[in-house]
Amino acid sequence: MVEKQSRWANLYLIIIFIVLYLPIFYLIFYSFNAGEYMQNFSGFSLKHYGELFADNRMLQIVLNTFVVALLSSLLATIIGTFGALGIYGVKNPLMKNVLLSLNNILLVSPDVIIGASFLIFFTLLGLGLGFGSVLMSHIAFSIPIVVLMVLPKLNEMSTTLVDAAQDLGANSWQVLTRVILPYLAPGIYAGFFMAFTYSLDDFAVTFFVTGNGFSTLAVEIYSRARQGVSLEINALSALMFIISLLLVTGYFFINQYNLKRKKQYKKGRNG
């Protein structure tokens, strides 16, 4: 009985993964098409990859997109972590709730509205649109995400840890850097990666604040759609998929290595 159940469970799992991954593989498959459309596979060819690497504008935009994503998520992680610490430290429960709700409202409000308000804000301030405006708006919409990822970790932390550290004579800087931050690390990493992916594929907000020769991948692909998206985009997507696959595998092996080291360390102490 148990075995039968797990068989159904496996089948379910497989179907779900097929649904999730099939479109991506379909897209990658056609990046090798010798024809011009996502139809009628007319032969294997790498010409769309050639087109991609000859398209300096596209490559520049891809790199710009990553720079914005990395910097904005890094800064948002720093600001958001301290924001979470701040909210955690508020004693008045009503105040705390208000702060949390304000954070969540930003998270659920539609991107279009956030984007439009940034556009109006930046033009009111007289700031030119470009790298700076995109970076700032990405930081702004990433902060609530980081707060939301870090806060549960904080709530989960036992207050006795802090008390113990203080008892042993740690000042507040030491408590923060030696106790609280290391404990929060998994939440901080998660927040960083969430913010990173949000920034990478954001279209609506970015569309409003790009300008003066600066553009990101999502905006560029969307503007090319009038003439039909070429298979060059497929080639690019295939490469990005492979890069993320490599990153995930790399992360897995580093994790594995760390776990092993920890185990050996423990064994050594016990033995």
């Binding site: 720079v67 290391p182 690390a185 409003f208 553009s215 003439q227």
Partner: protein, 363 residues
């Protein structure tokens, strides 16, 4: 803490390297022009995605020494919003005819000094001084085209489809694909009734709506860009759409043909304009003149596949292209063509509401 710090430093280093890479590719783009990016002569262009031959930009930079910043948009409305907000200053942008009118009314356009555009002499007179911009005070045409019918000769004989009214023939049951646009769909219905495509007469509109409802059984789908794909794959016998899209479909499938119905059609234009807040007027004029040099205009038209309003450039294009009267119609045919003008807000809503009603009947 140390680890978090290291991670942050690693992120910064990677971001720095990527920024260097991006910088390199930017230089590479201007390296094609033989000039370093240090030049302060700049031109900011805001154009539809993939709507110019990139080699021409490189050539322009090399010839004039201007550095081109090229941004793209995907709809007239999006472009208008960006220009209206300020924040960016573009020197050249490319609105369609009804948006030219709207931008003019909003005071967003720089009044052109036609003495600075000597290349205007290359234009076909038919495409100058049009209703949406009398005397070309604010705009010069970039590309133009028509609304028409694409058919597949596997299913449809050429003599079967000559006028808009032929679409209503019972033998075309469930076989027409329509471009999803209120003005275009109402446009051809109005033409089939011998009315103006810019009518504000409620009776005319209701008549067109009634006529469209009668077309419902013949309609296979109302769609956008995906029509190109379906037609290229023999999935539908007929499609109503723009000449530019048609030329792309025909390149994919030789069974497809494009016809301009005999009873006339709508003529569309994408136009070069200079926004009011442009900072590099000299560069903008230089670019307009450059792109209208017959040789360059011909190269661009061949790359994009749309029809050029430049008579001198048309002469340079291969005969095989310009001899096609469905893409370069004769003067005789042109007499029956109409151009959209901008409608008032209330009328636009009326068009849209009726169109929505029509779509609901169809479903």
């Amino acid at each position: 803490m140390k680890r978090l710090l290291y991670a942050a430093i690693a992120v910064l280093i990677v971001a720095g390297l990527l920024a260097l890479g991006a910088n390199h590719f930017e230089k590479e783009q201007s390296a094609a022009t033989g000039k370093a990016g240090s030049s302060t002569k700049v031109l900011n262009i805001y154009n539809w995605g993939a709507y110019i031959d990139p080699n021409l930009i490189a050539k322009f930079e090399k010839q004039t020494g201007y550095k081109v910043n090229y941004d793209t948009f995907d709809s007239n409305e999006a472009m208008l919003t960006k220009i209206q907000q300020g924040g960016t200053s573009y020197d050249i942008t490319v609105p369609s005819e009804y948006t030219v009118q709207k931008m003019k009314q909003l005071g967003l356009l720089h009044k052109l000094d036609l003495n600075k555009i000597p290349t205007l002499k290359y234009y076909d007179k038919n495409f100058l001084n049009l209703a949406f911009d009398p005397h070309n005070q604010y705009s010069v045409p970039y590309f133009w085209g028509t609304l028409g019918i694409t058919y597949n000769d596997k299913y449809v004989k050429p003599e079967q489809i000559q006028t808009w009214n032929d679409l209503w023939k019972p033998e075309f049951r469930d076989s027409i694909m329509l471009t999803d646009d209120a003005r275009d769909v109402f446009g051809f219905a109005l033409i089939s009734l011998n009315k103006s495509v810019n009518t504000t007469n409620n009776g005319d509109l209701m008549a067109a709506k009634g006529k469209l409802d009668a077309l419902a059984p013949n309609i296979k789908a109302i769609a956008a860009d995906e029509i190109k794909m379906y037609m290229a794959q023999d999935q539908a016998p007929l499609a109503v759409g723009y000449s530019g899209d048609a030329s792309e479909m025909i390149a994919e499938n030789s069974h497809l043909h494009y016809v301009i119905p005999k009873d006339g059609t709508n003529l569309w234009f994408d136009n070069l304009v200079i926004p009011k807040n442009a900072k590099h007027l000299k560069a903008a004029y230089a670019f307009i003149n450059f792109i209208n040099e017959p040789k360059n205009a011909a190269q661009n038209a061949e790359y994009i596949g749309y029809s050029t309003p430049n008579a001198a450039a048309k002469k340079l294009l291969p005969k095989a292209i310009t001899a096609q009267t469905n893409f370069y119609p004769t003067d005789e045919m042109m007499k029956k063509f109409q151009v959209y003008t901008n409608l008032s807000q209330a009328k636009t809503e009326e068009y849209n509401d009726l169109y929505l009603e029509f779509k609901m009947v169809h479903r």
